[in-house]
């Protein structure tokens, strides 16, 4: 076998094993999503009341309750109701909300779009902020800048999300400055992209409450790397510090960074109920809480499964990204 043959077969071997990894992860991910859908379905049915009772309220009577229960299909067996939902979901026929005169798809997708935009802008700020400030803190480890940032991030992670939200409203919308809308009263008939002013305040609150974790992870991983033998070697070789940090240390610290940022992204994907509530931002967390309160099973199910699918996908991509930036893992696979 020539050297070239060996290297070709090696590449093919790697791509096959990565393909197998993706398939295996996707398979177990789908199984997880299915289990989640069953558990959530059962959990919603364990709660007292149902959509018909919720809709009719306390002063209902048996005639109205029976009529509505039948109309909503709540008189069918639980396995039938679950099967009805799951076949509809898989074939793209998500049906109508139980409590609201609108299709599940319209209701869900509106909130998904809002959360996606909020998440996108949050990550656009959080990722560079965490990497740049985290790295700089590691470089300036123990100095005034690092201590200052540590104190601020510690404070931010200690303050509950709703308090940060209220503080942002107080400072930027109602009392000190009046530069942002206090509530994200998005017009549901227009695209969120045309109303980005309503995204700014919740985004600031979300960034402030989520950035401490990835920032501190980046700092910790960079401190580790900067104290490692190969960085010392690079410095001893006489490489300029900038080159040491960017060419050697940062690349080696990328793995933990990707993982911590992935966790942040997964956290954001499910919607941040607290911040969404404080700003009345119509995201998925807000929609999910409402749907659970209303026992709107198809909406709860669809939202949960979409969130679970997104988490599985993000984790899969993150694993691949970690493999891509970690030579050790690349060669092992």
């Amino acid at each position: 076998m020539t050297a070239m043959d060996a290297s070709t077969s090696g590449r093919r071997g790697r791509s096959t094993s990565i393909g197998a990894l993706v398939l295996r992860r996707a398979g177990s991910g789908l199984l997880t999503v299915w289990l989640i859908s069953v558990l959530v379905f059962l959990a919603v049915h364990v709660l007292p009341g149902n959509a018909a009772i919720g809709l009719l309220g306390r002063d209902t009577n048996q005639l109205a309750l029976h009529a509505l229960t039948k109309q909503l299909g709540l008189d069918r067996s639980l396995p039938y109701q679950y099967w009805h939902w799951v076949t509809g979901f898989v074939t793209g026929k998500w049906g109508d909300s139980l409590v609201s005169p609108q299709p599940v798809s319209a209701l869900v997708m509106r909130h998904v779009a809002n959360t996606a935009v909020l998440t996108l802008f949050t990550m656009l700020i959080t990722v560079p902020l965490a990497i740049v400030v985290g790295t700089w803190c590691a470089v300036r480890n123990g100095k005034a800048f690092d201590n200052g940032v540590s104190m601020v991030t510690l404070c931010l992670s200690a303050i509950p999300g709703f308090a940060i939200g209220v503080l942002v409203i107080y400072l930027l919308a109602t009392n000190v400055l009046h530069v942002l809308p206090a509530a994200s009263t998005l017009d549901p008939t227009a695209s969120v992209w045309t109303q980005l002013k309503f995204v700014v305040a919740p985004m600031i609150a979300v960034v402030l409450s989520t950035v401490p974790y990835p920032l501190r992870m980046v700092r910790a991983s960079m401190i580790d790397v900067l104290q490692s033998d190969f960085v010392m070697m690079a410095r001893l070789k006489g490489l300029p510090e900038r080159r040491v940090i960017f060419r050697h240390a940062l690349r080696n610290g990328l793995g933990p960074m990707v993982q911590s940022l992935t966790l942040t992204l997964v956290f954001l994907t499910g919607g941040i109920v607290v911040v969404e509530t404080v700003f009345s931002y119509p995201g998925v967390g807000y929609a999910l809480v409402q749907a659970v309160n209303e026992r709107d099973v198809p909406v709860v199910q669809t939202l949960v499964v979409l969130i679970a699918l997104a988490c599985v996908l993000i984790n899969l991509i993150s694993d691949l990204a970690v493999i891509a930036v970690t030579p050790r893992l690349r060669s092992r696979s």
Binding site: R58, A182, A183, D187, Q290
Partner: protein
């Protein structure tokens, strides 16, 4: 009060004194004038134009189907899109004015009623309101497959006994006497809808026309230029925005994103007063009674019920549980009822309470009061009562449940506090106080009271109805299942740039009971 649902049911049922004679005598012109001026609080002609944005607590359950409307949000939307045969006035005592009806006349035997519609009123699609629309409306409410929320109020109406006498006159036949038929209209759930009504494309006769609607989010309505009250409404556009959270709603009014909000907590009043906002305080008959189930011990003994009523320090309850935003009650509901009797105010009397309990064999008793964090001060008032009961040697344990757990079993708790709307007893009696009534949470079963109620349904004379209502209410004072310690007030806030909001004291609902047709910019 209440879950909006309960308020509504009481409005349907409880609506007070529509004077049939007066209604019949009204001409369309005179009623229009009175309606047009009734809600104005400031002098001078109202300015036309502008958009009003109201923030309310809402959810995906929002509907524009008037006959299914239940929450406050639904009420305010539907009251602005549709009209009923009558509308409730905000002033006391409880009374109605004709809206789409020119007259409602109940037959001498109370077994029929003839409704004559106001001439020349148009739906938003240009169709003139006719007898066929009234018949369609009643059929739609009584449809057994999808009954409207008012179907219990119209239980006496024979669905096959409606006759179109001419283009704008319908005669209704009843299965049983219903002298108060004319008082059952007025709420959004009795809105007159055109034949073939489709809730996806809502068409009514109201002051505003549908533009867009997203449940749980926003409703946008525009001015109806053909509204039957000349000159109204004054606003060009009305937007109602749903909030799930009060903090966000308060911030929105402070930052000027919304111009009005209902149900303000007393705690935030100070913050609002500094922000160019007016407050609107509505006195009402909303009540959060402590209810005793009369079909089980110990409350089956009237001495125990009276002892419990004597344990409450009512002025302290108003101050401690309602921050002073309530008035003292006298163990009878519906203070706006024209028949509300003037009886001695009941005060705290610990010695008498102890003596009654001793006589009944329940000295030093212990009981669990079931409550839930609903309707503002519900839990507060339960806790204040528990404190006050200690003086009589009674231990009251407060079980604070989640709203779901509480509501799921709400007609079965032995000792609980609920929340109910203001109305009149004649239309509210059947649901909450007749044996088997859908919301009879005290399991009240009073044969003498039922006999008075049956006489009331046969009494076509207004004065007789008032007298019998008074007799019914007195039975609650003497024997009733509720400790009605106070009547809660509603607090709303609106931008000081607006005018036209007047307290709706008759039923106590918010924001001038959502009569946005009377609201304008200064």
């Amino acid at each position: 009060m209440n879950s909006p649902v309960d308020r509504r049911s009481f409005l349907i049922g409880g609506a007070g004194a529509l004077s049939l004679a007066a209604l019949a005598a009204c001409t369309s012109g005179s009623s229009s004038n009175s309606a047009a001026t009734s809600g104005k609080t400031s002098s001078g002609p109202a300015k036309r134009g502008g958009t009003l944005v109201v923030g309310s607590l809402g959810s995906n359950k929002d509907t524009l189907d008037a006959h299914q409307s239940s929450t406050d949000m639904d009420q305010q939307r539907c009251q602005n899109l549709y009209d009923s045969l009558t509308y409730l006035e905000g002033t006391l005592p409880y009374h109605f004015k004709p809206a789409l009806a020119e007259s409602i006349e109940v037959g001498a035997d109370a077994m029929t009623a003839t409704v004559r519609l106001r001439p020349g009123v148009e739906f938003h699609n240009g169709k003139t309101v006719g007898a066929e629309d009234l018949i369609f409306t009643m059929q739609r409410i009584l449809d057994p497959k999808n009954p409207g929320r008012a179907h219990t109020a119209f239980a006496a109406v024979d669905p096959s006994g409606m006759t179109k006498l001419d283009a704008r006159t319908v005669r209704f036949a009843f299965k049983s006497p219903d002298a108060i038929f004319g008082k059952r209209w007025g709420s959004a759930t009795t809105s007159i809808l055109p034949v073939g009504f489709d809730p996806k494309h809502p068409v009514g006769t109201g002051p505003f026309k549908f533009k867009s609607f997203t449940p749980g989010s926003r409703s946008v309505f525009v001015r109806n230029p053909n509204y039957w009250i000349e000159g109204q409404p004054y606003l060009d556009e009305l937007q109602i925005i749903d909030f799930a959270d009060n903090t966000s709603r308060t911030a929105a009014v402070l930052s000027g994103q919304i111009q009005a909000l209902d149900g303000v907590e007393p705690a935030v009043l100070g913050q609002l007063s500094s922000a160019q906002l007016e407050t609107l305080i509505t006195k009402s008959g909303f009540y959060q009674p402590i209810t005793m189930r009369i079909d089980a011990k110990p409350f089956s003994d009237v001495r125990v019920r009276q002892a419990f009523r004597l344990m409450v320090d009512r002025p302290a309850m108003v101050t401690q549980a309602y921050s002073g935003y309530a008035s003292i009650g006298n163990d009878m509901p519906d203070p706006a009822d024209p028949g509300y009797p003037s009886l001695p105010q009941r005060h705290q009397d610990i010695a008498q309470a102890k003596s009654l309990l001793k006589a009944a064999g329940y000295e030093g008793m212990s009981v669990t009061l079931t409550t839930a964090p609903e309707n503002g001060s519900l839990v507060n008032s339960a806790q204040v009562f528990a404190q006050q009961a200690k003086a009589a040697g009674v231990t009251v344990k407060v079980a604070n449940l989640t709203p779901d757990a509480y509501d799921a079993n709400f007609t079965n708790w032995p000792f609980t506090n609920g929340y109910w709307a203001a109305g009149i007893i004649s239309t509210g009696y059947a649901g909450r106080f007749l044996a088997g009534g859908g919301i009879n949470d005290s399991h009240w079963d009073d044969p003498a009271g039922t006999a008075i109620y049956q006489s009331l349904l046969k009494a076509t004379d207004e004065a007789k109805q008032t007298e019998l209502s008074g007799e019914l209410l007195k039975r609650f004072y003497d024997l009733g299942p509720d400790i009605i310690h106070s009547f809660k007030q509603n607090i709303d806030a609106y931008s000081s740039k607006l005018t036209g909001f007047a307290p709706f004291n008759s039923n106590g609902w918010s924001l001038g009971a959502w009569r946005y047709r009377l609201v304008s910019y200064k």
